[in-house]
């Protein structure tokens, strides 16, 4: 058979496949009906066969190029990813992730580094004012002291709602940035965790020495556990990414990075959820005029919840 005849024979099928592809893209497979979908599949297989035999048929190069594009397009319509499934994700977040977190040495390293540096910096900030000045900067220090000068009397609901939005944007954004930065040079996560811990520790240490101490503690206690743990989760996940480039565990470097990304992803999701919860507490509970006992109770409760999530669910999933 001559190529001209062959092209004549096949052209209609290819055109049909092309228009079915367009329709699938526009309307999705559900609304197309079974007949159209099965016709699409058989046309796709026919196009695949034509492409496989293009060399034997001696099709012109232009036609071969067209077939490559057509088959590629149809391939992407035929093979689709499992889109978000709630059941899979809840299993991942409440069974798999706590189990992995409990035995994730990178996360525990991030935990130790963060709290170690935090404690050290807090002590230094408490003991020496020049240290705090150097780390925080005098301008920030003055503005912090000013903002906690009045005792908390509670804000109106409007301000609380607006501030919650701001905390989501700002804090969760910082968390995600911490995570992404972990990829830098493999040790970016280490650097970011340390710098966050030192900054925050110096602020805490310094604020304990000034007269505004009580107002400050009134404000930070309630949302502290969620927010600080969220930072540890995010930077731990980032460290995981970065370290995977250095310690590959026998894999190719890029394969090691890919494996780490799959493991770190859900951990960042947990961090973002924690940041959002912390933002709600920070927006509504922290600035309220409620007695300190209540805020401390919130802090203890949230800390217990976190411990239950990582240790409780983790141990349960292990069995």
């Amino acid at each position: 058979m001559k190529v001209a005849q062959l092209l004549e024979q096949r052209r209609d099928g290819w055109r049909d496949l092309e228009s079915l592809c367009l329709e699938l893209e526009r309307r999705g497979p559900r609304r197309m009906g079974a007949a159209a979908v099965s016709r699409f599949a058989s046309l796709y297989r026919a196009a695949c066969a034509d492409l496989a035999l293009a060399d034997a048929y001696q099709l012109p190069p232009d036609t071969v190029g067209y077939l490559h594009a057509l088959v590629g397009r149809a391939h992407n319509q035929l093979y689709r990813s499992q889109t978000f499934r709630f059941r899979d994700w809840s299993h991942e977040m409440f069974v798999e992730l706590p189990r992995r977190m409990l035995s994730d040495r990178t996360l525990w390293l991030a935990f130790v580094i963060f709290w170690g540096a935090f404690g050290l910096s807090m002590w230094l900030g408490y003991a020496s004012r020049p240290y705090a000045e150097q780390v925080i900067g005098e301008v920030t220090m003055a503005s912090m002291e000013a903002s906690y000068s009045a005792p908390l009397v509670g804000r109106d609901v409007d301000t609380n709602t607006a501030m919650t939005g701001f905390y989501v944007l700002n804090n969760a954004g910082i968390g995600l940035r911490c995570f992404a930065g972990g990829l830098l040079l493999g040790v970016g996560g280490l650097f970011i965790t340390l710098s966050n811990a030192v900054q925050l520790g110096a602020v805490f240490g310094h604020m304990l020495t000034v007269p505004q101490r009580d107002n400050f503690l009134q404000f930070v206690t309630a949302h502290g556990p969620f927010e600080l743990t969220a930072i540890v989760f995010a930077s731990g996940a980032g460290m995981r990414l970065g370290f995977s480039l250095i310690s590959t565990g026998g894999l190719e470097r890029m394969a090691s990075l890919r494996r780490a990304a799959v493991l770190a992803g859900p951990m960042v999701a947990a961090a973002v959820v924690l940041f959002c919860l912390a933002a709600v507490i920070e927006g509504f509970v922290s600035p309220s005029a409620a007695p300190y006992v209540l805020k401390a109770a919130v802090a203890v409760l949230t800390a217990l919840l976190l411990a239950f999530y990582v240790v409780g669910l983790g141990l349960a999933a292990r069995r």
């Binding site: 055109r15 092309e18 594009a69 590629g72 992407n76 689709r80 995600l176 890919r258 992803g265």
Partner: protein, 311 residues
């Protein structure tokens, strides 16, 4: 090629090669390793990426480099800014009814969502495409050519933050790191792509290019006069179709010059007179190979075939 030969040949030849490192010996050895077949053509330098499907065929995509992805990114950026503007307008109208807090909060949370999860959301829902990518015919796939999942879609967009470095002034990303990494990797992957194992490919519609119309009376007549038993082999058929597809771009003198490279020796072999027009000879061979042997066959629907092939 040579190193492969070293691996398959016996020790004597290796010794021989070491003792007499002259190029012809190397070439001979390489040819021997190929069992006398033509060496494979070197890998194409253009950005093609081959994928083997479950149907057991291989097809290739054109990979999208930074300059194809930039316009899509710009479209997405505009869309994000537009959405942000609309949300801003709607939410500021909340202020009129006194719900300032809700309005502001919605604006801020939308900003957060758009700046971190816009790409991830669309690439999950639209099978690897954002509005910008759809407009410009790009799609994100895994390196195996499969569709991406939600985790990959979200993660590659969150990690965009490192690719955007350095960020200068009031948060203007320069994307230098991403650009450098893309240039350094084989498949134009930025860091986010590397971590998620994804690639971006071009998925544009292509026009069905068919056969070229050569139903010139002179060509048809000439193709009859060619020896009936001669048939171009595969390589020559390929050369013919490439030549005929492009000959319209050249002037007559240039066609003559290009065609005579093949037509000269071929004419001698077929015993044609020396003054045969090389362009005519190649067109006639093309006509015979791809369109019709005899005018009778082709007469069934001559112009229709050729015309359809052109559209």
């Amino acid at each position: 090629m040579v190193s492969a030969a070293l691996l398959v040949e016996g020790p004597e030849q290796r010794l021989d090669l070491l003792q007499s490192p002259n190029p012809s010996a190397l070439a001979a050895l390489a040819a021997a390793a190929n069992n006398g077949r033509m060496p494979k053509p070197p890998r194409q330098l253009d950005s093609r990426y081959e994928i083997a499907t479950p149907e057991n065929i291989a097809f290739s995509y054109v990979l999208a480099g930074p300059f194809r992805r930039l316009p899509a990114f710009a479209v997405d950026l505009l869309l994000r800014a537009g959405t942000m503007f609309l949300v801003f307008l709607v939410c500021t109208s909340f202020f009129a009814i006194g719900a300032d807090g809700v309005g502001l909060s919605v604006i801020l949370v939308t900003w957060f969502g758009l700046s971190w999860f816009y790409g991830g959301f669309f690439e999950t829902v639209w099978n690897g495409q954002t509005p910008g990518k759809r407009l410009l015919g790009l799609r994100v796939l895994t390196v195996e050519g499969q569709p991406i999942n939600a985790l990959q879609a979200v993660l590659r967009n969150v990690l965009r933050d490192v690719d955007a470095m350095p960020i200068v002034g009031v948060g203007i990303p320069l994307y230098v790191l991403g650009l450098v990494v893309m240039a350094a990797t084989e498949r134009f992957q930025r860091l986010g792509d590397l971590a998620c194992g994804t690639i971006v490919v071009v998925e544009k519609r292509r026009v069905l290019g068919g056969l070229v119309r050569v139903n010139d009376a002179e060509v048809i007549r000439f193709s009859q006069s060619l020896p009936i038993e001669f048939s171009p082999n595969r390589a020559m058929a390929h050369a013919l179709s490439v030549y005929v597809a492009r000959r319209k771009l050249f002037s007559a003198a240039r066609r003559y010059e290009i065609a005579s490279t093949l037509a000269g020796p071929l004419g001698q072999r077929l015993g044609l007179p020396a003054d045969t027009n090389p362009d005519l000879l190649l067109c006639a061979l093309y006509y015979r190979k791809f369109i019709a042997d005899r005018p009778g066959v082709e007469a069934e629907a001559p112009s229709e075939i050729a015309e359809a092939a052109q559209t």
